[in-house]
């Protein structure tokens, strides 16, 4: 596919990124913040079309954009559920019951770690340390931290996410 045939970003995002690149001496520096915005606005994960559109905007090859996106765990390169639940399983959380929180999260959502529930409502992921160590254990629902959890809290926290 030649560069001119590549998919383009929606106009609002183009305008936003045009402003963003002005913060840096080189355009590519805005790529990771831009990928965040794309993931937020364009369906919760980075589709091949989105990556190609970013490549077009930043003057990069699609494989370069894929190489960057695939390095960072916050970027999803496969479809996700309507809500993404992450449970930190690192040391401070593990010492205070993280595996119980994860097991309960799997029970409530009907998804395995790394999977999507059959109804498409939830993705469940294991997370490395989120910096909530003094409020462990914790989970992250669509980017929001829920801390100092007991197993019994999980159903309530996830209940609001339809």
């Amino acid at each position: 596919m030649s560069p001119s045939e590549r998919p383009a970003l929606p106009e609002a995002l183009r305008a936003e990124f045009t402003e963003l690149v002005r913060h840096y001496p080189e355009r590519q520096a805005a790529l990771i913040p831009a990928l965040h915005r794309c993931q937020e606005e364009l369906g919760g994960w980075l589709t091949p079309e989105t990556l190609e559109a970013c490549a077009e905007f930043f003057g990069l090859e699609p494989v370069e954009v894929f190489g960057v996106a695939s390095f960072y765990p916050m970027f999803h390169l496969r479809p996700v559920g309507r809500h993404v639940v992450g449970v930190c399983h690192n040391i401070s959380c593990a010492l205070r019951g993280a595996e119980d929180i994860l097991r309960e999260t799997c029970r409530v959502t009907g998804s395995k770690p790394g999977g999507v529930s059959a109804d498409g409502r939830f993705s469940v992921v294991r997370l490395e340390c989120q910096g909530a160590c003094t409020a462990a254990p914790m989970l992250v629902l669509d980017g929001a931290f829920h801390e100092n959890l007991a197993t019994a809290d999980v159903a309530r926290v996830l209940g609001g996410a339809r």
């Binding site: 805005a30 990771i32 919760g44 960072y72 799997c106 790394g114 992921v125 340390c129 160590c133 462990a136």
Partner: protein
């Protein structure tokens, strides 16, 4: 999805200053505004002494060299883990008269060392303190552009610092002609995307340039060739938050806190098996026992302490007998570990140190960027060996294999220190808890937590694993 407005959930618990018994002088400054209503806003910051240091420097006729000298004289050491002299680091930036290239400050707000959540407290609750520290650092190093690299998961930190920068810009404190002087400085926010290695200063710079966070070989050092190959300094959030106080109160005041070689206060986070986990501001050199017993209320559930980590997961696990060590760089090194990020992680008598190392090794395997074979392969092997010992499938020779692998990974065998971060705690467990490793092998099972292990969903490959 994440387009909904951010819900501010419970911030990391920050205990109010507890009364402690210690021969060291106790004074709270870093967290002095935390707990005030709207502590993150400009009016509250200014009402409590905020931007006085900047005004003093810009209108009091200070030269950049003088500011660097004050910071050098204070003995302030970086709070990101390495403990390097901040003033000395600043002095490595080339003289702009001889090297007129653009120059940058990169603020390392990619706090990701397991156990560590102190910078988050500052960014969420006192973001202007960081902004003022950035401005002073930029003045001292004649930098006109600073980037705050905040880990992507710290949504509230990002919002609060961005809002503080916007408030400061509107008040003439960021941008051109700051406080009506010729000093100009821009501060831009930059969001990471969840890779521990981007907290390593050269990995951070690669990531800020929009690339995979692969650390660069040093030299060249950042002061000569950093962001976009231009002179760059990378400073941690807590380090910069100290600077306004060093300026207004002076180097002698700073040295009156802490110990002669590790002056000042430090934010110590204490997590794991304690009654009151939290982030506490304490003088460097405070006894670890004081932090555990007086700040954190002791080991939880009336249990005894078995083991503890003094400064985040890359610092070696120490036995309970070492709990009287002083929390400063030199004392902890003598005790066989490191101060690191001051993140104490406590394990009670029911905890399994092998299981703890399995979790830590899994983390380093996941976070290895994959450039160096010693680290890429070594971290994977360490995780597999700890996992099989914990499952009861280990062999006695595995213990020597752990040491041999760790010796092959570090010190100074790889581009960055991630391999060291995995090797150091490996050496520590073999040295300090060898009997527990041997018991796992002899029994063919973990001697602790038997019921829990039977039900666990362990050892699945984490989603999003890279490299």
């Amino acid at each position: 999805m994440s387009t909904e407005p951010t819900k501010i959930t419970s911030p990391t618990k920050t205990a109010l200053p507890p009364k402690i018994t210690s021969p060291l002088k106790r004074e709270i400054y870093l967290l002095s505004r935390v707990g005030l209503r709207d502590s993150h806003t400009l009016p509250v910051y200014k009402a409590h002494g905020g931007y006085a240091a900047l005004e003093q420097v810009l209108t009091g006729g200070f030269t950049p060299a003088q500011v660097i000298q004050i910071v050098k004289d204070s003995g302030l050491r970086g709070r990101g883990g390495a403990g390097f002299s901040t003033g000395l680091k600043w002095s490595f930036m080339p003289d702009p008269a001889k090297d007129p290239r653009p120059r940058y400050l990169a603020v390392n707000a990619d706090e990701s060392e397991p156990g560590t959540c102190k910078d988050r407290v500052l960014m969420e609750q006192d973001p202007h303190g960081l902004v003022e520290g950035i401005l002073l650092a930029c003045f001292a190093m004649r930098v006109k552009t600073a980037y705050v690299y905040v880990r992507g998961e710290y949504r509230l930190s990002h919002e609060r610092v961005a809002a503080a920068v916007a408030e400061a810009r509107a008040a003439g404190l960021v941008g051109a002609k700051i406080l009506g002087t010729d000093f100009a400085c821009d501060i831009w926010m930059h969001k990471g995307a969840g890779a521990y290695i981007c907290g390593e200063e050269t990995g951070l710079m690669e990531s800020l340039e929009g690339k995979r966070g692969h650390p660069r070989p040093k030299p060249p050092f950042p002061a000569g060739a950093g962001l976009w190959r231009q002179p760059t300094t990378v400073n941690n959030v807590e380090t910069l938050a100290n600077v306004p106080f060093v300026i207004t109160r002076g180097a002698d005041w700073f040295k009156s806190l802490g110990t002669p070689k590790s002056p000042g206060n430090v934010l110590i986070g204490i997590s794991g098996h304690v009654e009151r986990p939290g982030v506490y501001e304490l003088p460097l050199g405070i006894s670890a026992r004081t932090v555990l017993e007086e700040c954190a209320g002791g080991v939880w559930k009336g249990r005894k302490l078995k083991a503890w980590i003094p400064g985040g997961s890359s610092t070696g696990l120490l036995p309970a007998a070492k709990i009287d060590v002083a929390m400063d760089h030199d004392s902890i090194r003598e005790a066989g570990s490191m101060l690191g990020t001051g993140a104490m992680i406590m394990l009670d008598e029911t905890a399994c140190t092998v299981r703890a190392m399995q979790v830590i090794a899994r983390f380093y395997e996941h976070e290895s960027c994959g450039q160096c074979s010693q680290c890429r392969e070594g971290t994977e092997w360490l995780h597999q060996i700890f996992a099989r010992i914990e499952r009861g499938q280990g062999r006695m020779e595995d213990i020597e294999l752990l040491s041999s692998l760790a010796n092959g990974m570090a010190p100074a065998k790889t581009i960055c220190a991630l391999a060291d971060a995995a090797a150091i705690p490996t050496h520590a467990i073999v040295k300090n808890f060898r009997a527990e490793l041997e018991e796992h092998v002899r029994l063919g099972r973990c001697p602790l937590d038997v019921e829990r292990h039977a039900a666990e969903l362990t050892d699945l490959v984490p989603e999003g694993a890279h490299a």
